[in-house]
């Protein structure tokens, strides 16, 4: 039979559509910096991007999140959100690096010198040889299988700046990345590479809305015995759109902990891809999201166990209101020889009204027998009994609701190991809830 069937024609049309969108996006990109050492990785990413095409609503992992506003050539305009709030990490002694609409600001940033940590900028390292060439685009590429992440390939190809952080010892203070949104049409693309040498330890903080549209990739290589802590606050800017990827590779007895708090934002997709390559390592990925109104938040997490006796933990909580949508797609993949794996995953959402939605796909794919893996997912409204109890004790309804929301988020917040940081995050979320109550 030479005539094509409907299904074949549909597939061909889809491929054509994807190619069209991808080419339009590529054509509209800001010029990447003089490449140097990253040229090869960028060229490779471009060919992978062209082969795969940008995400389409028909793609399995874009079922619940519409990718159009992330893939279209021009960033949709986003009004700038002004607030009198102080920066969330202002009280912390830190090395502060500021990007305004994706452009490094020397004026706003602090001195980049920190003992045991070397911090360079991607846009400034254009020589032919650099340590980051072993990681840039490499972990991203490894994370494309079995599920393609074309927006990350796009980033590797076209990132205009980012930090290359190499940690050789226990850092004495955190490195903070602050993203300022200052232009209604900015379209920022940053790519960070973090390399933790054996036994090194770093806490990385991130906050701010970044740009009207923000595409960020962070590749993290955690060597044997090293620890990486990542705390992120995605602020209250209503109209921003963001797609972020973290690709982490964990060595023996290493630790990786990442926590993200998100409040509002018309579209956020946070992907975290973790691969255990050394035994006895630990990875925790957690998130708390509160959305009110035009809010779409998507957590997509892939954990691959390819080593013995590793522990992974995913804890994601979402509070949704006024038509807000929460998405969770999480997977624990245990490869054949990854015995003694302990995998845990929980995704829960609290729906505060009838217009909100929760869409979840918590997956397990397990090829080893001596493992303990579990996942849970729940969705529901505030417990009437709990509410009644608080009201009967004289707590006003709004306050009672906030208390129950905080209680619901607590187990995710507890994933923040550092008490000071946990209190800051908790304080901020309480403050935001109070403001909303007005």
């Amino acid at each position: 039979m030479t005539a094509l069937t409907n299904a074949q024609r549909a597939r061909q049309r889809l491929a054509e559509q994807k190619a069209q969108v991808s080419e339009a996006r590529i054509a509209a990109l800001a010029p990447a910096p003089q490449a140097g050492w990253s040229a090869e990785a960028r060229a490779d990413a471009l060919s992978r991007l062209r082969a795969e095409g940008l995400p389409h609503p028909r793609d399995e992992y874009w079922k619940y999140t519409r990718p159009e506003s992330l893939t279209q050539a021009e960033a949709p305009a986003a009004a700038i959100f002004t607030t009198d709030e102080k920066g969330i990490f202002d009280a912390i002694d830190r090395v502060n690096v500021v990007f305004v609409d994706g452009v490094f600001s020397e004026e706003l940033s602090s001195d980049l010198a920190l003992e045991g940590v070397s911090i360079e900028r991607l846009a400034e390292t254009t020589s032919d040889i650099h340590w980051a060439s072993g990681l840039y685009g490499k972990l991203e590429k490894a994370g494309q299988d079995p599920v393609a992440r074309p927006l990350a390939a796009l980033n590797t190809y076209a990132a205009t700046d980012g930090l290359l952080i190499r940690v050789t010892a226990k850092a004495t203070k955190p490195v903070a990345l602050q993203y300022v949104h200052n232009s209604e049409t900015s379209d920022a693309m940053l790519h960070h590479v973090v390399k933790l040498e054996e036994g090194a330890d770093l806490t990385l903080l991130e906050n701010g809305p970044a740009a009207a549209r923000f595409n960020k990739v962070m590749e993290v290589d955690v060597a044997d015995g090293a620890s990486f802590h990542h705390i992120r606050a995605q602020g209250r800017d209503h109209e921003r759109r963001a797609v972020t990827h973290i690709f982490a590779r964990l060595g023996t007895e290493s630790t990786f902990k990442s926590f993200t708090m998100t409040v509002n934002g018309v579209l956020t997709r946070n992907e975290v891809v973790v691969e255990f390559t050394g035994n006895d390592a630990v990875a925790h990925v957690a998130g708390a999201a509160v959305g009110d109104g035009d809010f779409h938040h998507d957590d997509t997490v892939f954990i691959t166990h390819d080593a013995v006796n590793c522990e992974s933990r995913q804890v994601f909580k979402k509070v949704l209101k006024n038509g807000a949508r929460g998405v969770f797609q999480g997977k624990i993949l245990v490869k054949p020889d990854a015995q003694k794996t302990d995998g845990y995953q929980i995704s829960q959402s609290l729906l505060l009204d009838d217009d909100s939605q929760f869409l979840a796909k918590p997956e397990l794919e397990i090829y080893a027998d001596d493992v303990a893996c579990s996942h849970g997912s729940t969705s529901g409204a505030i417990d009437d009994d709990a509410m009644f109890y608080l009201r009967s004790r004289g707590v006003p309804e709004h306050e009672a609701q906030d208390l129950l929301v905080i209680a619901f988020l607590a187990s995710a917040m507890e994933e923040i190991e550092d008490e000071t940081l946990r209190d800051i995050m908790l304080g901020r979320i309480t403050e935001w809830l109070e403001r909303r109550r007005g």
């Binding site: 069937t5 409907n6 299904a7 074949q8 399995e60 054949p336 015995q339 959402s349 729906l351 505060l352 009204d353 009838d354 217009d355 909100s356 939605q357 929760f358 869409l359 979840a360 796909k361 918590p362 997956e363 397990l364 794919e365 397990i366 090829y367 080893a368 027998d369 001596d370 493992v371 303990a372 893996c373 579990s374 996942h375 849970g376 997912s377 729940t378 969705s379 529901g380 409204a381």
Partner: protein
């Protein structure tokens, strides 16, 4: 009947002891697949391959009216435009749909027998071997309930059977008694001839002609299957059962089951399947449609024991099944229970559309995959009506080099206020070469509903094994016992005689998986 399903009744002390012994015997059984023989019966085949003429031929052989032939042809044309789905976690060589026989019937059936007495005795012998009480007089021990529990009627439980051999229904028992109750239970080909108004109204109304690749293929070429209609307010006086057997080589079996439970009625339906041992893979693509009106209830239980292929993964049945129940009326209720132990490849998602308010759907499943078997099975619970409830309990067991996947959807629509779902999927791994996977989709679109999903994956607990071993059991017995315990929640949901068979099957299916 419902009372019989309670745990106390099934697992009463006397029964339990007997069952354990049987399980143990089953484990000792040398043959892995005891239904692997074939019956030498002269067959009448349609030519190999598939085209419009074959579709017309099948229709003509069944003496179907023109509207049915057109319906099939329309399905066939749609099928040509469709592609085999590839999203399931099953991997098998490409199926050449032109290298299959789409119709095979025992020669002796060419002239329709007037009664069971005229049926080829070899056929009846086949069913006898399978333990099917085809003849009304033959109520085998396993089928008749041993003793009705106290307070229940003393009458022994009887089961009406429709047996389908390759493509053709060979006989339906208890016709007279069912007729008195007003229940129609016959083969679907007979229903097309005798009750066209019912078939026209309901066929394809739950699983549309072009629902998916395999359902479309089935719509074009289904050769027989069962038809049940339970009139308003009638409680079907006995359990209805269909037994499917694929006998001929290289034939696909495509049966179609249509069950209609009218307002306020109740029926419990059992389905069992076996096939002989063959080197080449055989195709099976069935469609089951259930329509449940207001206040009606349907229980559908399956023990699927198609030939799973040998221990090297050779042969076996490719089982692609579309099963769906539509709870159209308020308070309609459906319960799917399945024990999937056979087939080389299983692709099956019995679903519930909970359309009426207060409708209920339940899904209990045991899927066992051993050697090179692959099972991708689960359910869909579509909550459309208010206060709808669903419950999913899935137990997956993988051994050898098998892959076992639970794939399910729980969808709560914005208008389905106060819906409730509870899902539990547990996987058990026996051996380090197999895989167990869970792929649930959860979509909640209002806040008055509560949806809970839980899943665990673990291996057979060493302490439990040690305990059994220290009591003198050998390793296989111990594993069988632990696995039976793991499956308990689902086994209890099965009608009694099926529960017994299922327990044995669990043990047999896992043979050779330890040590």
């Amino acid at each position: 009947m419902t009372k019989m399903d309670t745990p106390e009744d099934i697992r009463g002390p006397e029964v339990k002891e007997g069952v354990d012994q049987e399980t143990v015997d089953a484990v000792r059984n040398v043959s892995t697949y005891k239904y692997g023989w074939d019956t030498e019966i002269e067959m009448d085949y349609a030519p190999m391959g598939l085209n419009e003429d074959i579709v017309r031929l099948i229709s003509a052989k069944n003496e179907e009216p023109e509207w049915m032939t057109d319906w099939r042809l329309q399905a066939y044309r749609r099928w040509l435009e469709k592609e085999e789905p590839s999203w399931a976690m099953v991997d098998y060589p490409e199926i050449d749909f032109q290298k299959q026989y789409y119709y095979a019937r025992p020669k002796s059936m060419e002239v329709k027998p007037k009664s069971l007495d005229e049926v080829d005795p070899k056929l009846l012998e086949t069913y006898q071997k399978l333990g099917i009480p085809l003849k009304e007089q033959m109520i085998l021990a396993g089928v008749e309930a041993p003793e009705a529990p106290e307070g229940e009627e003393e009458a022994p439980r009887r089961v009406a059977v429709d047996a389908v051999f390759d493509s053709v229904s060979v006989g339906t028992t208890f016709q007279k008694e069912l007729k008195e109750a007003g229940v129609i239970f016959c083969s679907i080909s007979e229903a097309i001839r005798e009750h066209p108004e019912l078939v026209k109204k309901y066929l394809g109304s739950v699983v549309p002609v072009s629902d998916n690749f395999y359902a479309t293929l089935n719509s074009a070429v289904f050769s027989d299957g069962s038809f049940v209609y339970v009139p308003p307010g009638v409680r079907c006086p006995m359990e209805l059962s269909t037994y499917f057997r694929i006998n001929a080589e290289n034939t696909g079996q495509f049966e179609r089951t249509l069950i209609i439970a009218d307002k306020g009625s109740y029926v419990s339906y059992l389905e069992g399947c076996t096939a002989p041992q063959r080197d080449t893979a055989q195709l099976h693509a069935a469609v089951v449609e259930i329509i449940i009106e207001e206040d009606a209830e349907v229980k559908y239980s399956t023990v699927q024991n198609w030939f799973p292929g040998d221990e090297n993964g050779k042969g076996g049945i490719y089982n692609f099944v579309t099963k769906r129940a539509d709870c159209r009326g308020d308070r309609a209720k459906v319960m799917w229970t399945q024990v999937e132990t056979g087939s080389a490849v299983t692709w099956k998602y019995p679903s519930c559309i909970l359309r009426g308010d207060d409708a209920q759907g339940e899904f209990y499943s045991i899927a066992i995959a051993n050697n090179f078997q692959q099972a991708d099975t689960g359910t869909k619970m579509i909550h459309l009506g208010k206060n709808t409830k669903s419950r999913i309990v899935s137990k997956g067991i993988s051994a050898g080099r098998a892959q076992n996947t639970y794939r399910g959807l729980v969808s709560v629509h914005p208008k389905a206020k106060n819906a409730r779902n509870y899902t539990q999927c547990d996987s058990l791994l026996i051996g380090d070469k197999c895989g167990a996977h869970t792929v649930p989709y959860i979509e909640v679109k209002n806040n008055s509903s509560r949806v809970e999903h839980e899943a665990t994956t673990s291996k057979v607990d060493d302490d439990q094994l040690f305990y059994c071993r220290s009591r003198g059991m050998d390793e296989e017995e111990a594993v069988a016992l632990v696995v039976n315990g793991f499956c308990k929640d689902v086994l209890q949901a099965l009608p009694m005689e099926f529960a017994m068979e299922a327990q044995q099957l669990v043990a047999i299916s896992l043979e050779g998986s330890v040590g």
